[in-house]
């Protein structure tokens, strides 16, 4: 394998406390190394450029059944954004839900090298993996939806968390997954009969437990299994005015699980869970309350779910939420897709408009949270692609964060009522490149427990992004447009030690790996006849045909972890 030497770049590597130091990065055999032979190595002159680890996305719906139904649903979306075949790359389409190849190309062009696909019904895991194989140039992993799985609900209700943990360990392996995803706990099961839960203490119909039991139980299970990431939680009451209270209650519920060392929960796309006001007419931001809580507590991490004002497609396993969104009116299509014993799902095309008060306030909430939560290590930047906006809009979000001028320019175009309600004019903070590197790679990798990602220390994966930004000579806050452009198009992207993007063009194709956890429980999971019988009762697929086999993962990266049960 070729050796690469990146010379004289301004390196920003927060995990190793390196802030804009002019230094060289050496790469050999796909890893960052101490040094390489300069004569034999391919030398990249990075003088005047910013060098960071490849971007890590903690939450982006890029593959799987839900995403693909979204694709099928929207020919009107694709026709706006077509991508031609080249000698090297495949053709495809965007816009809000790009086809698989295009997804890989666009992430890579932004200098991103790792993406988490955060929502997958276990029963459809093979589908998700088949699609991930077709997303080149990035490493990826999936989170399995487990918060409303009957087996989990029953074992938690029984109070037997160890048994629950063993089932979940099996499921994580069987679905080749990386983390536990919980969506509107209890709500999805209720949605099976068209109902929902509305507070942490509502009883889930037909199961004697509450959302609170599920959340705390799962967080404990997560700890028992020594999972690298925390539980990945989409809160109850998401998308409903006044829900910031539920969000704070949820975080408070998890305080008891916290042992003081590492976070125990990750609230995803928290923007959608930070609404204040009693109804849509009095809709306002709950960002301050959420930020205050997070500033005072250390047991949680979050990602934003920033709105970028796009004609996009919302999709979530939160079926009841999508239906209530649909009922607000003005939408032409609604998809609901329940999955037996596991989950539900919904899709609605949605156009976030600046002139719409609620949409504009949502945009403001996302930025308020990012700016008011003091510790960037608690925050990951996402748009909850494609829910808040497509992932390739990230550079717009960066600009709103590092440049007050940029957000003022956008705020000026927003709905007047939203402008009056926005807290943004009171917020002076502007992200530094260092902080930006935290919320886009270093912090995300840390929150995910990815040891070899998000940094450029010796032994890290040689995933590197080089942007045309000179931190010495550029006032990024003032010149936000060229910097935004630079983030849209990396000069170089290096994946596993190979240059895949050069001068903003794809020059090589690599498949990218799929990371998954082999969770080893102390007592190996026994598939007894009882479990098989249960399987036949619960699912319409035979036990033998359920697990994802090796066939479905082109380039696997198995990560073995030892559980404490």
């Amino acid at each position: 394998m070729t050796e690469i030497l990146i010379k004289n770049g301004f390196v920003i590597d927060p995990l190793n406390n390196i802030n804009c130091q002019k230094m060289d990065i050496a790469i050999k055999d796909g890893k960052i190394v101490e040094k390489v032979n300069e004569r034999e190595a391919k030398v990249i002159d990075a003088s005047g450029l910013t060098v960071m680890a490849g971007g890590v996305d903690i939450h982006s719906h890029i593959a799987g059944s839900e995403v693909n139904i979204g694709r099928m649903l929207r020919p009107d979306d694709h026709v706006k954004d077509v991508v031609r075949k080249t000698a090297l790359t495949r053709s495809g389409t965007g816009y809000s839900i790009p086809s698989t190849y295009v997804t890989g190309y666009r992430y890579s062009k932004m200098g991103y090298t790792t993406v988490m696909n955060p929502s997958m019904a276990a029963m459809k895991a093979k589908h998700a993996h088949e699609e991930l194989n077709d997303i080149p140039l990035i490493d990826k992993a999936v989170f399995t939806l487990l918060g409303d799985w009957w087996v989990a609900l029953e074992t938690i209700a029984k109070g037997d968390l160890e048994e629950c943990a063993r089932h979940i360990a099996w499921m994580i392996r069987a679905t080749r997954s990386y983390a536990i995803k919980i969506v509107n706990p209890g709500g999805l099961e209720s949605w099976g009969f068209g109902r929902n839960v509305h507070s942490l203490d509502d009883e889930v119909p037909n199961f004697s437990l509450t959302p609170r039991d599920i959340i705390t139980g799962m967080a404990k299970v997560n700890a028992m299994l020594n999972m690298p990431h925390t539980i990945h939680l989409h809160t109850n009451n998401l998308g409903i005015p006044g829900n910031y209270k539920t969000t704070i209650e949820t975080m408070q519920a998890l305080e008891s699980v916290y042992k003081g060392d590492k976070p125990v929960g990750h609230i995803t796309h928290i923007q959608f869970s930070s609404f204040a006001g009693d109804n849509w007419a009095h809709f306002k931001s709950g960002a301050a309350e959420i930020a205050n809580y997070l500033n005072a507590h250390n047991h949680m991490t979050i990602d934003i779910g920033q709105v970028t004002f796009a004609d996009t497609t919302t999709m979530t396993a939160d079926g009841p939420f999508e239906f209530s969104l649909y009922e607000l009116g003005g939408h032409n299509k609604w998809v609901n897709s329940d999955v037996e014993t596991e989950s539900s799902g919904g899709i609605i095309p949605f156009h976030f408009k600046k002139k719409n008060a609620v949409n504009a306030i949502q945009w403001s909430i996302g930025l308020e949270l990012s700016l008011m939560i003091k510790d960037p290590w608690k925050v990951s930047m996402t748009t909850d692609h494609p829910n808040g906006g497509p992932f390739y809009h990230y550079p717009r979000v960066f600009a709103w964060l590092y440049s007050r001028k940029a957000r003022e320019a956008t705020l000026k175009k927003c709905n007047k009522k939203a402008q009056r309600k926005s807290l943004l004019p009171t917020l002076d903070r502007e992200y530094t490149l260092y902080e930006l590197a935290i919320i886009t790679r270093a912090g995300t990798a840390k929150a995910l427990g990815l040891k070899n990602k998000g940094h450029l220390g010796i032994g890290a994966d040689a995933d590197v992004a080089i942007y045309n930004i000179n931190p010495e000579t550029t006032d990024i806050a003032q010149n936000y447009k060229p910097v935004r452009k630079a983030f849209s198009n990396a000069i170089y992207t290096i994946k596993d030690g190979e240059i895949v993007v050069k001068d903003k063009e794809i020059i090589a194709i690599r498949p990218g790996r799929t990371m998954w956890l082999d969770v080893q429980t102390k007592e190996p999971y026994r598939i007894n006849e009882e479990m098989k019988r249960k399987f036949k009762e619960y699912w319409t697929v035979e036990f033998d045909n359920y697990p994802v086999t090796d066939h479905y993962i082109k380039v696997p990266e198995k990560i073995t972890i030892q559980a404490s049960v």
């Binding site: 649903l73 929207r74 020919p75 009107d76 979306d77 026709v79 032409n332 299509k333």
Partner: protein, 271 residues
């Protein structure tokens, strides 16, 4: 004026969105000849497939097409100004997203003519195909303005998701006329097949001939002596006026001529 005639009979479809006054404007004849088109997968230039001549004495129409263009798609797509006359049949997507100007078709047009049109005029002096003035698959934003006139008959699903503008049909109309329309006017001089106005929430459909079968989702509103088609035309009644689609809580109107629709008389008892 540029005159374009096919060099040969075409078998596989040709995509020629470049046949468009906006694109031709400011180009020499030689430059126009070199504009890119495709025939199937083959990349060609206009003069590979067509003979082009220029008559500098004539300003309008800007482009005249003569011959069989039924396999040529996307003529005049997105055009903003100018005039195209087509003497012959023409292929799909003619005048799609038209934003101004005029397209005259002295022949039959195919599907999606005037699809998602915003402004301008399309005159079809023959029959018009399915999905005339209807948007692309999955799009619920249809024709917004302008005028389409058809001398002959139209196919099915014409004027779907209509949001404005007028469609006048001198012949008969196929099924699902004005499906999901929210505004605008469709006038049919002759007969209309079943399922007109399904899912409509606004606008009006005027049928001067017989209505094959009225959807049960329409309810009778009144009988009106006449109705305005547009600024230049009134239709003489009396008309039964139906409101619908009530399943969508719509307030669209179907005007059906009383004299040609005696079987609709059963609705009179609800008046």
């Amino acid at each position: 004026m540029i005159t374009i005639t096919p060099k040969r009979k075409f078998d596989v479809p040709i995509q020629a969105a470049c046949i468009n006054v906006d694109v031709f404007t400011g180009k020499t004849l030689n430059e126009i000849k070199k504009l890119a088109i495709t025939e199937g997968k083959e990349n060609l230039t206009l003069d590979d497939a067509f003979d082009l001549t220029e008559d500098k004495t004539l300003e309008t129409p800007n482009i005249t097409l003569t011959g069989d263009f039924s396999k040529v798609k996307r003529i005049g797509q997105g055009m903003k100004t100018g005039e195209i006359i087509i003497n012959g049949n023409v292929g799909m997507h003619t005048g799609e997203k038209l934003a101004g100007g005029k397209i005259v078709i002295n022949g039959n047009s195919d599907g999606w003519t005037g699809s998602e049109m915003k402004k301008g005029l399309i005159e079809i002096h023959g029959d018009a195909g399915d999905y005339t003035a209807s948007p692309f698959r999955g799009n619920s934003a249809g024709m917004k303005g302008g005028l389409i006139t058809v001398d002959g008959n139209v196919g099915s699903n014409v004027g779907c998701y209509l949001q404005g503008g007028t469609i006048k049909i001198k012949g008969s109309a196929g099924r699902f006329l004005g499906h999901h329309m929210s505004d605008g006017t469709i006038y049919v001089e002759k007969n209309c097949a079943s399922r007109a106005g399904t899912f409509m929430t606004g606008g009006k459909i005027i049928i001067n001939g017989t209505v094959e079968l009225l959807m049960p989702t329409f309810t009778i509103d009144s009988i009106k002596p006449k109705v305005k088609v547009d600024a230049t035309q009134n239709a003489q009644g009396p008309f039964y006026v139906f409101l619908g689609d009530i399943a969508e809580r719509g307030t669209g109107k179907i005007f059906a001529l009383k004299t040609t629709n005696p079987e609709l008389a059963t609705y009179e008892k609800y008046l």
